[in-house]
């Protein structure tokens, strides 16, 4: 395997409040190869946004390592930090909050260009901004360049955000729920623009979303990592994750998601969870974090031992005592559970 472009090694993240401490990431490891697409999927509070910020260098891990191009990010300083800083860019969720309302499109995009000497003067900056706007399918660019954010639609703003990220010629783009707040009818074209840019500019994408269907579409050729309560619990090629999920949580997600087809959505088998309540981050369950809700929970095992990510039969990685092991293992575990229970 080639050297991953970005890598997390056993990253933990703890937030210390005035009188409380919350750990939001536990031992998170992931790798992204150059030009690859990795989708991080999970519900609110699962740590996907924090993971994105750590990857983007906007937040530091409490422990563990972030590697960029095989080198530890914490060792970067001066020029090497500046290079890394610009190589990884982020696109935010809310098209209404991601652009400074006081600046026009031109100013927003020209700041980084001028600051980093990517253009020589305002004339060049303007030409480059027009080029970038055209690149993200914001046409006619000349009509939009002097507009303020409030004069643009949600989809247009999101495209300006993408163009802004592209000003510094990044290698990696982290898109945090980048399409969840734009209208359904234009989501696909926004996603297609991103895919197109990836092909044309050789970008690596880390796409964070709560929506498995969007992840499946965007990461069709890539991978999906599913997070639950601060941990990666399943990871693998997008098709496998959505078509043959192995972890009971992923199975629950896939089965719970309504589909845009009445026949399919009404016939889908449903996974019944044992509890509907999401545990609080301040009082996490022991053992497997999913065990209080898990439909295939093995008493005596799951609440004691935390499963590690391990290869499954279909070729994904899953952190589950029951499904991730070979069937032989699973039977042994089940037998142990039964003996403990009796």
């Amino acid at each position: 395997m080639t050297v991953p472009l970005m890598e997390l090694q056993s990253v933990n993240r703890i937030f210390k409040g005035r009188n409380s401490t919350v750990q939001v990431l536990f031992d998170v490891s992931m790798q992204v190869a150059p030009r690859e697409t990795l989708c991080i999927v999970g519900e609110s509070g699962c740590g996907k946004t924090t993971t994105g910020k750590i990857l983007a260098g906007l937040s530091k891990p409490s422990s563990g390592k972030v590697l960029f191009d095989g080198k530890d990010v914490s060792g970067f300083s001066g020029a090497s930090y500046a290079d890394f800083r610009r190589a990884v860019q982020i696109i935010h969720q809310d098209p209404y909050a991601s652009l400074n309302p006081v600046h026009t499109v031109y100013r927003t995009l020209s700041f980084p260009l001028l600051r980093h000497g990517l253009v020589k003067n305002q004339m060049e900056a303007r030409a480059r901004v027009l080029e970038l706007l055209t690149l993200v399918d914001l046409t006619p660019a000349a009509d939009l360049i002097d507009k303020f954010p409030h004069q643009l639609s949600g989809g247009q703003r999101q495209r300006v955000s993408i163009a802004r990220a592209l000003t510094v010629n990044p290698k990696v783009i982290i898109a945090d729920e980048a399409v969840s707040m734009v209208d359904v009818s234009i989501r696909i074209s926004l996603l297609n623009t991103l895919t197109e840019l990836q092909k044309r500019l050789g970008l690596t994408f880390i796409f964070i979303t709560h929506d498995l269907a969007v992840a499946r579409y965007f990461a069709w050729e890539g991978r999906i990592a599913v997070m639950y309560l601060g941990r990666v619990i399943e990871e693998g090629p997008a098709k496998l994750i959505t078509d043959a999920p192995q972890h009971p949580y992923t199975q629950a997600l896939v089965s719970a998601l309504p589909e845009p087809d009445p026949e399919i959505t009404r016939r889908k088998p449903r996974v019944q969870l044992r509890s509907e309540d999401i545990p609080s981050l301040t009082r996490l369950p022991s053992g497997c974090p999913f065990h209080p809700r898990c439909p295939i929970y093995v008493p005596g095992v799951c609440e004691h031992e935390r499963p590690e990510l391990a290869a499954t039969q279909v070729g994904t990685l899953a952190a589950c005592h029951v499904t991730a092991q070979t069937s032989h293992h699973a039977e042994a575990i089940a037998a142990r559970g039964a003996s403990v229970a009796t």
Partner: protein, 363 residues
């Protein structure tokens, strides 16, 4: 820079199957809003007490030293005798080392011994305060209460009829009243109602009650007390009313845009019920904390207003003390007034925490 941008944790999912009743553990009490308000109040009073101690002693024109010098010059005392007399006066043993002085001063304060007046020896500071403070608390409290209640109703009315002629008129009047300094309002009232329209006699309104009326729980006395307090109370009312009305108007407009009000209408609730329980209550909540903060300001304004109306409150006593440079009285008044205001703040805070369940249970 990079890391300072992000220090707050992401929203944690609430919802556990366990009941969320507030536990009455020590931890729960220590984290409660009420407890923290109490600690804040005690610390403030402690800081003010310490502050007054050093204020009198450490400033370039040390009033203690001036007093001793004066005594030595005018009464031909020895330094020791003058010092002893000063100690009695300032309620602290001035011969002792500074730290010991501080502790004995503190002990005295706790025993409500604030020393004696410099200009009228033999009169204790506490007795002076006891004689004057109640009138201030009475008039300021009454004025604030009336203006708060009327301000709330006016503000709600303005919000309900927003952009109408009535709203424009009320808003303009309210904003003018709230901008005029209260001591100038007092002058304008005397001019218009006392001099021009002659609705009352400024001279008769002096003092807390008329000479000849026997203090007691009689109707005549109570009416007299109210009529004497009427002018300062009216000034406090006029100068704070506008602020309440405008704040309440904005607050109400905010609440009227809230979805739960729309939902209350959708639920078919009666208009009165919505106005009281859904709009009025929620809009008034944030004003309760502001009421607490305004007490201090109004008490400050009372200094001049009581002077102007010759009303025997603590402010008038303070002005007299300033004119006579009677530092022990000044020090005592500052200490007691501040304590009174801090306690009033605390009460308002506690009231607020009772009215808003979100504050009560969050830490």
């Amino acid at each position: 820079m990079a890391d300072t941008v992000l220090t707050s944790p992401p929203a944690t999912a609430p919802a556990t199957s366990k009941p969320l009743r507030r536990s009455l553990t020590l931890r729960g009490v220590l984290r409660s809003y009420a407890f923290r308000s109490l600690v804040q109040a005690v610390l403030t009073i402690f800081a003010v007490t310490t502050f007054t101690f050093f204020l009198i002693r450490l400033l370039p024109s040390d009033p203690v030293q001036i007093y001793i010098d004066k005594q030595m010059q005018s009464k031909d005392m020895t330094y020791e005798a003058a010092l002893a007399k000063a100690s009695l006066m300032f309620g602290a043993d001035l011969q002792a080392p500074a730290l010991q002085q501080y502790f004995s001063y503190f002990g005295n304060v706790l025993r409500l011994n604030l020393g004696e007046s410099i200009t009228s020896p033999g009169t204790s500071v506490v007795s002076q305060i006891a004689a004057f403070l109640p009138w201030t608390l009475f008039s300021v409290g009454l004025g604030l209460l009336v203006s708060f209640v009327i301000g709330l109703f006016t503000g709600m009315l303005m919000a309900y009829v927003r952009n109408s002629l009535l709203d424009t008129i009320l808003s303009t009047v309210a904003s003018f009243l709230s901008s005029v300094p209260n001591y100038l309002t007092a002058i304008l009232i005397v001019y218009f109602f006392g001099v021009q329209f002659k609705w009352f006699s400024v001279a008769k309104a002096r003092d807390a009650y008329s000479p000849g009326v026997q203090p007691g729980f009689t109707l005549a006395f109570i009416l007299d007390v109210f009529s004497h307090a009427a002018l300062p109370v009216f000034v406090y009312f006029l100068s704070t009313f506008g602020g309440w009305a405008l704040t309440m108007k904005n607050s109400t407009l905010g609440v009227l845009g809230e979805e739960y009000v729309t939902v209350a209408h959708a639920r078919g609730l009666g208009r009165l019920r919505i106005i009281t329980s859904y709009v009025g209550r929620n809009a008034a909540l944030p004003l309760v904390t502001q009421l607490a903060l305004s007490i201090g300001t109004v008490v400050g304004g009372a200094i001049i207003i009581e002077q102007y109306f010759v009303y025997p409150g603590i402010g008038r006593r303070l002005v007299l003390a300033i004119q006579q440079r009677d530092y022990t009285i000044m020090q005592g008044i500052f200490l007691v007034t501040t304590t009174a205001v801090v306690v009033a703040n605390l009460l308002a805070d506690l009231l607020y925490s009772q009215l808003d369940p979100r504050v009560r249970s969050s830490s």
